[in-house]
Amino acid sequence: MARIVVLGAGVSGHTAATFAKHWLGDKHEVVVVSPNSKWNWIPSNIWVGVGEMTPEDVVFELAPVYQKAGIDFRQAKAVSIHPEGKEGSDRPFVTIEYTDPNKKGETEEVEYDYLINATGPKLNFAATPGLGPDGGHSLSVCTYGHAAEANTHFQNAIERMKKGEKVKFLIGTGHGMCTCQGAAFEYIFNIEHELREAGVRDKAEIKWISNEQFLGDFGVAGLHIKWGGHIVSSKVLAESLFAERGVDWITGAHVKEVQKGKLQYELLDGTEGEETFDFAMLIPPFSGVGLKAYDKAGNDITDKVFMPNGFMKVDADYTPKPFEEWKASDWPKYYQNPDYLNMFAVGIAFAPPHPISKPAKSVNGTPITPAPPRTGMPSGIIGKTVAQTITEVIEGKYSLEEVKEKGHHASMAEMGAACVASTGKSLMNGSAVALTVYPVVPDYDKFPGTGRDPNYTFGEIGLAGHWIKHILHYMFMWKAQLKPGWTLIPE
């Protein structure tokens, strides 16, 4: 009997764990270690953040779902990985610390045969002084709790505006190395929409601040939209959209510090600026969750297993290279750790070889480059692919050493992704932006110029985006709860 331990129950970890159990059945064991008792459909947090959905609409309890599926669930956070075991035992294990209220603080060693690291990111608010809702001066929509808190402030702002007060909204990224511009983009247009619905749009000043080099970069070097009968870059679309909705913007900005009601930023040209606000929702940069790794003798091998940013090394080419030498083949295909072959990392937890957007530094040397997104669709696909590979290894189809020849692969340079940015939640009116991009990571050798296949990289503005977003919400909540037919729903 083999045991797979999955660290994390987000999109990627949950997909990996549920599929592995589905394929392997009762003959083998799947253990999920997650500090959260609930699963959260993160894309809908945007709607929680403007009061269109409640936190309860976007979460469900994991324990009953796992119990039904026969997955051993431990509500705990992983503290360290011991891939060589310890003195007296060769069996690798992870040390976990319970967050389950009944066992809070207790630690345990969980042995594994195969490990899937799907811990996701640590929301690194500490990277920018004053950033974030916990002790800082800005809000976030990265968790359902944060989104609900943002909504409380938002409703409060609407009340103030109804009394005639002017309110300034500042939305975007809170550091030069952030990812997830798409979420902030969706949030700003939901805010704008809700303010119009509430009849107080004229009392609001709305401004975008981000680390993108140009408006419409989205952390993926921009993409192309069919617009007015021909293909244009998302730059042209974004500029039009911002102008049409009366939303001002600052790009190429690294937020240096957030204070009460104002923030300081540095621009690409090295100049500094200050922006005031009454309401600020700024996405934090992500880092690894701070897992440690130890060898058999108990020596710290964290540097060997993880990159300095805390994300796990996998089969990517991490050699530092200038932008012109970046290749699609630098990106991992199997998500297998090169030193410990029974360890895999999926979703945000794997270390990307480099960004997707063209890197930039300010003249003072501050990096202002979006980090590569690895959330949503790619993250689910990667989780399922790794589960498939491990299942086949357990079934004896090939060995861990042969994964690179025979395993299933899902490189982000061979994978497309779709995303929908809503402007409100209405089924009857709105103009959502629906985008598909292929491949996620530009392949400049295969598709010279933009690195993308123009036939599969496109977007459209229209109401259908809202319908898709609604469908996705209910479909994924259904799927994640393993309700009938869940395996048929794609990632």
Binding site: F214, L215, G229, H230, I231, V236, L268, T450, E460, A464
Partner: protein, 264 residues
């Protein structure tokens, strides 16, 4: 000297790619041709795509010198949005009013690949915004409102006239909408002798409307496949629209049935 492309040349519609290899001698050849074209036509600025090279390169006359701007992006702006009446050599004969930023901050690389910054004001700002738009596949008419754009296409011709300005599927839908509104109005007056047929022929009407929706869905599917280059992501749109109209039809059918039972 290279040919200066004008509408509706398909080569203008390509998206320009980032320059990654600054040691590529091909770049010098493109720049040389751009320089010659600029001199020949006495232009203040030129985007490489205007002579058919899908590269993110702009040449711009600054203080009498020609500045080579590679991979230019607008990372910031200042001042108000202003109305600007513009024409461009790529769009001969057209003069369009568009909105621009008063001042733009541009980052680009020079021929050696070094990062450079330039804050453009006044006329420089406007012409550079137009040329940078071209680098990203955007032209003057992309800045117009949908209504103005329609008028523009009518006057100057569509992009190679490959994309229709109106689709048959939309016409089928408009006709269905009128039919449904009529059906609804007649239903309101179904207690009169004149309109009572809507209740008597309820099932037949339901059948007609359903078939109508099916025809719409099939034709829309055919049309979006045919004009793949003009529109995209329409699958969900067609599906959603059909479902919505299906629901309306069902409501009318159910409502009529209830009404009929009530009246009898």
């Amino acid at each position: 000297m290279a040919e200066l492309l004008t509408y509706p040349d398909q080569r203008l519609l390509q998206i320009s790619g980032l320059i990654r290899h600054f040691d590529d001698p091909g770049i010098d050849e493109v720049i040389k041709q751009m320089r010659e074209t600029m001199q020949e036509h006495n232009l203040k600025a030129l985007s490489a795509i205007q002579i058919g090279y899908p590269y993110r390169i702009i040449l711009f006359k600054k203080n009498g010198n020609i500045e080579v701007m590679i991979n230019p992006v607008i990372y910031g702006k200042e001042g108000q949005r202003i109305k600007s009446l513009e024409s461009d050599e790529s769009l001969p004969g057209a003069e369009l009013e568009v909105e621009r930023f008063e001042v733009v901050k541009i980052m680009y690389q020079d021929r050696e690949g070094k990062d450079k910054f330039f804050t453009a004001k006044g006329e420089d700002s406007i012409i550079l915004q137009r040329k940078i738009d071209m680098v990203f596949g955007g032209y003057l008419f992309d800045k117009l409102s949908k209504k103005e754009q329609k008028r523009f296409f009518k006057e100057y011709g569509n992009y190679g006239d490959t994309c229709p300005t109106s689709f048959v599927k939309d016409k089928i839908l408009t006709a269905l909408r009128i039919f449904l509104v009529l059906h609804f109005l007649l239903l309101l007056f179904s207690w009169t002798k004149f309109a009572s047929f809507v209740l008597n022929y309820n099932t037949a009407l339901f059948g007609i409307e359903l078939i109508w929706i099916i025809i719409y869905a099939l034709y829309a599917k055919y049309e979006t496949t045919k004009y793949k280059n003009c529109t995209s992501c329409q699958g969900a749109n067609v599906f959603g629209t059909s479902a919505l109209y299906g629901a309306v039809t069902l409501l009318l059918f159910g409502g009529s049935w209830l009404l009929k039972s009530f009246l009898q």
